[in-house]
Symmetry: C2
Subunit: 222 residues, 2 copies
């Protein structure tokens, strides 16, 4: 059975990516990063989703002591209420985050003989992060071909981004079709008991459910 490494954050995009990889016949090993994020709540969600998908997972603990992001540093305000904008890079940008995640994931993939790394990057309904755009993934795949033993020996190893060109509505629909446990996904950057509803991540999520014509299970009255 072909193997894949999946970056799993606990949000809808990465959960849908995991279920997509599984549907494509991959045996998945999920990497869940504990990187000092304020919304630590997503870690428990990610573990639960991995178990739900019948996938193995590992927690990778790293610390970016240099911070430089509202997601790491409580002194920086998480933007709220400003228009959603895919052209501006907001304060929630974490310097080099996807490069760090992908570097671990491709190392793991090479070591275990997996042929793909799946990441739920999206370049349509997204916060303008440069490491979510198609050109970034093209260059990263070139880096793997040039810089790994697998790459120079011509063995298959590549980054897969199945959600890159989908709208948030299309992602939520796909999640439902694939049986993603949406009630266990977590998007809010604040990580309080209930989603704040005002951060960019909450608002992209709301946009997705609205477009898909589905009620967000996190917002249902108990």
């Amino acid at each position: 059975m072909k193997k894949a490494v999946v970056l799993l954050s606990g949000g809808i995009d990465s959960a849908t990516t995991l279920f997509s990889a599984r549907a494509k016949g991959y045996r998945c090993l999920c990497l869940i990063f504990d990187y000092g994020q304020r919304h630590r709540k997503e870690l428990a969600c990610a573990r639960r989703i991995a178990r739900d998908a019948g996938a193995e997972y590992r927690i990778v603990k790293i610390r970016l002591s240099w911070q430089g992001s509202a997601l790491l540093d409580k002194k920086i305000k998480i933007p709220a209420g400003t228009p959603l904008d895919t052209q501006k890079i907001p304060a929630t940008y974490v310097p080099g985050r996807n490069t760090i995640f992908l570097s671990f994931a491709s190392s793991c993939a090479e070591a275990i003989g997996a042929e793909a790394v799946f990441i739920g990057a999206n370049a349509v309904d997204f916060s303008g992060y440069p490491d979510c755009r198609p050109q970034y993934y093209r260059v990263f795949n070139r880096l793997i071909r040039q810089g790994t033993k697998a790459g120079v020996q011509g063995r298959p190893l590549r980054i897969e981004t199945p959600l890159l060109h989908k709208t948030k509505g299309q992602i939520v629909k796909l999640a439902q079709q694939l049986g993603v446990p949406l009630a266990y996904t977590w998007s809010c950057y604040r990580g309080a008991k209930a989603p704040c509803g005002t951060c960019d991540s909450c608002r992209f999520r709301a946009k997705g459910f609205k477009e898909a014509g589905i009620t967000d299970p996190l917002l249902k009255k108990p």
Copy 2:
């Protein structure tokens, strides 16, 4: 004063790179990786060298639980005595190691406003590791331009490889000129009390001192 992040392992190449960056007028922050290497001894050497250079340093602790290298896994034999070969990738190759190190270093550089990341990669007297070759660094610099906020905003941030095309002899000579404390550098993959003299790293080191016409202070009789 312009700032740089320097990857410091404790070997001659990274120490010489640190002293080169300092000579070029950079204020240097060294990142020292504790990644589960068998030759942990290099960590103490790296700290000592950073202090000697008057540079700040941070220890970055990571664990590659998937291993896949003789430098991480004691069950895999460290090659010894086979001809030094820059065309074959030996068992000491760590999957994706430099990509992981550079991903942290460029994240740090972006966060602190440094304009360069220095790495002591060498593609002349080296073990054939694909992530030490010029084409790999060209692609990594493209990744920074495409995938970071600094890159897309046109701020300077690049990987510098001052030793890439030097022989080991030229590196040892340069180290001496720059005042690198060679007695505190450590190269041996085994990390025992004294260098083994047989691993590839010891043999490249010996070649360098021989070519430079200098006695290795680690091999001087007490």
